[in-house]
């Protein structure tokens, strides 16, 4: 069965639509409630994963770039694992940004900023509509920056979705019906190729997590159990790093062959640092 991924500019709406769709289709929900489990599994401090989904690393924040990448990789690996189970409605985990090539994952964006802004939000906060506009514009910019830094993909770009529905005029009930109807379309049905694509991505994500725990500058691709790792290292560390990657990645279930491509790290060469 297809996977449905809901994204929105307003968290409340995202949750509401995802829940309605899951209820109507009798699908499982996959959302941020899985984060504590992932934190436990990877021995990460509570709340860190949630924080990594909202902020980008900077020198003034406590979360370093290395930690941030690792946290996102953990989320990604676990989301892929859950998506392999099928019949899933996923929201709040930015899955639309890392499942772009999975054709049976229907990616829907719900827009409702004007509705939400001009209605309850500005009144609830006792602020002016202009103030709320500014706040929301800042929030949108922040999400844009986050998605670009994390996945080099603009979350607000409509071409990243199969369907974008604006709730300013369209009723949420109608939007839910549109999504559930669209799921039936042939293009969103799992095919051998798209299932294989998802399992390859899941394997790559699993290897990525294992490697990022020990080193930086890692990119992983997987195909039929063969894993290609792209990394950077100085001439001195090259052999050591390749051996470590092969050792770490090779021990993961499903990995049959590991190939490592190393680019010269000029900074590492002069600094003489470790991985």
């Amino acid at each position: 069965m297809p996977i449905i991924i809901i994204s929105s500019d307003v968290r409340d709406i995202e949750e509401k639509i995802a829940k309605e769709v899951a209820l109507m289709m009798d699908y499982q929900l996959l959302d941020r409630r899985v984060l504590p489990d992932i934190e436990m599994r990877h021995q990460i401090d509570p709340g860190k994963l949630s924080e990594s989904m909202e902020t980008t690393p900077s020198v003034f924040k406590k979360m370093t770039s290395r930690q941030w990448r690792y946290y996102l990789a953990c989320i990604e690996a676990n989301v892929f694992e859950a998506l392999l189970k099928d019949k899933i409605v996923c929201w709040g985990l930015s899955a639309h940004l890392f499942t772009t090539n999975v054709s049976h994952a229907m990616k829907v964006r719900i827009l409702s900023i004007n509705n939400w802004n001009s209605g309850k939000n500005s009144e609830q906060k006792g602020g002016t509509s202009q103030g709320a506009d500014k706040l929301i514009a800042e929030k949108v910019q922040q999400r844009k920056k986050w998605s670009m830094t994390a996945y080099n993909h603009d979350e607000t770009d409509p071409s990243g979705y199969d369907l974008v529905i604006n709730l300013d005029q369209i009723d949420p009930v109608e939007a839910v019906k549109t999504i559930t109807n669209a799921v039936e379309y042939l293009k969103f049905q799992p095919m051998t190729y798209s299932i294989k694509c998802l399992s390859d991505l899941a394997l790559a994500a699993k290897v990525n997590v294992r490697l990022l725990k020990h080193m930086v500058d890692i990119k992983v691709q997987a195909r039929d159990g063969s894993v290609v790792v792209l990394t950077k290292a100085s001439n001195r560390q090259k052999r050591k790093k390749i051996a470590a990657i092969k050792d770490l990645a090779g021990s993961i279930e499903g990995v049959r062959y590991v190939e490592v491509h190393v680019k010269k790290n000029i900074l590492g060469e002069t600094a003489g640092n470790s991985f």
Partner: protein
């Protein structure tokens, strides 16, 4: 019944989608006819109107305001056409020219650049590189045009009610989505909505009559009461005379007044 505008980049299959939607809903499809209407009504060569709605204004045009005039004529012709509902407009800038009307379903069809290039290559029998350059140039012009005249980005999803990525879906799937949305309660032409469109048509007519000589005026209309927003230096005897003529000649105006030096409402044309 609704009015549907379908916006798309060149070679994104938007035209086929528009035709199929119209066929299924028994609506009229309009596109270039608007330019012919405007050309006849305002006595402007069609080629100038086509350029005005397609190409971004050049430096001289920004000072001459000719583009504003032509766009006002096109807008007026378009609103007159959609006044009776049941219309699919797949020409340029529909979502901007008739914004503010609740029963207008604004749709954007997007497609991958590669598939657009493939369609253009096949249709015009040209090499891929040439097709790509032409499409990119067209997109650039659309972007500049929308920025210059409306300060928007045509790719901004919040301008539309539905954005459909046609590559993964088929034309028929897109038609399903659009028809379903068009038939929903939100896009029914209620009496209130019909009045709104009549008022918009009146405001557009007034604007089109004045825009050539007074390019920076703005017009609103509510239940036949027309407000013309002007700056202090525009409040001349010439304008007053022109407004008196408009008041005498347009039967659907109950009352017409000018507002000077006040902020222009966002829904003004």
């Amino acid at each position: 019944m609704a009015v549907i505008t379908i916006s798309r980049g060149a070679f994104s299959l938007g035209k086929i989608v528009a035709e199929k939607v119209a066929e299924r809903l028994h609506y009229d499809v309009i596109s270039r006819e608007i330019l012919l209407d405007a050309s006849t009504r305002f006595n402007v060569p069609e080629i100038k109107l086509e350029k005005a709605i397609h190409d971004a204004p050049g430096i001289l045009e920004r000072y001459r305001h000719s583009k504003q005039s032509y766009v006002a004529y096109i807008r007026s012709a378009l609103v007159e056409r959609i006044i009776n509902d049941n219309v699919v407009y797949n020409g340029l800038a529909g979502h901007l020219l008739i914004k503010g009307l609740p029963h207008v379903l604004k749709v954007r069809i997007t497609a991958n650049i590669e598939s657009r290039v493939a369609i253009e290559m096949e249709r015009n029998q040209i090499p891929a590189q040439e097709a790509r350059i032409l499409i990119q140039e067209d997109d650039k012009q659309r972007l500049k045009w929308t920025h210059a005249l409306y300060d928007h980005d045509p790719r901004d999803a919040s301008l539309y009610d539905l954005c459909i990525f046609i590559d993964k879906l088929s034309v028929d799937n897109a038609v399903d989505f659009i028809c379903r949305a068009a038939e929903s309660e939100a896009f029914r032409a209620t009496d209130k909505n019909k009045q709104k469109i009549k008022d918009l048509a009146t405001a557009c007519r007034v604007k089109a009559t004045l825009v050539d000589e007074f390019p920076n005026i703005a017009v609103t209309c509510e239940y036949g009461n027309v407000l013309v927003y002007i700056s202090k230096d525009q409040a001349t005897g010439k304008l007053i005379k022109k407004l008196n003529t408009i008041r005498d000649n347009m039967n659907d105006i109950y009352h017409l007044e000018t507002h000077t030096g006040v902020p222009v409402p966002t829904d003004a044309v």
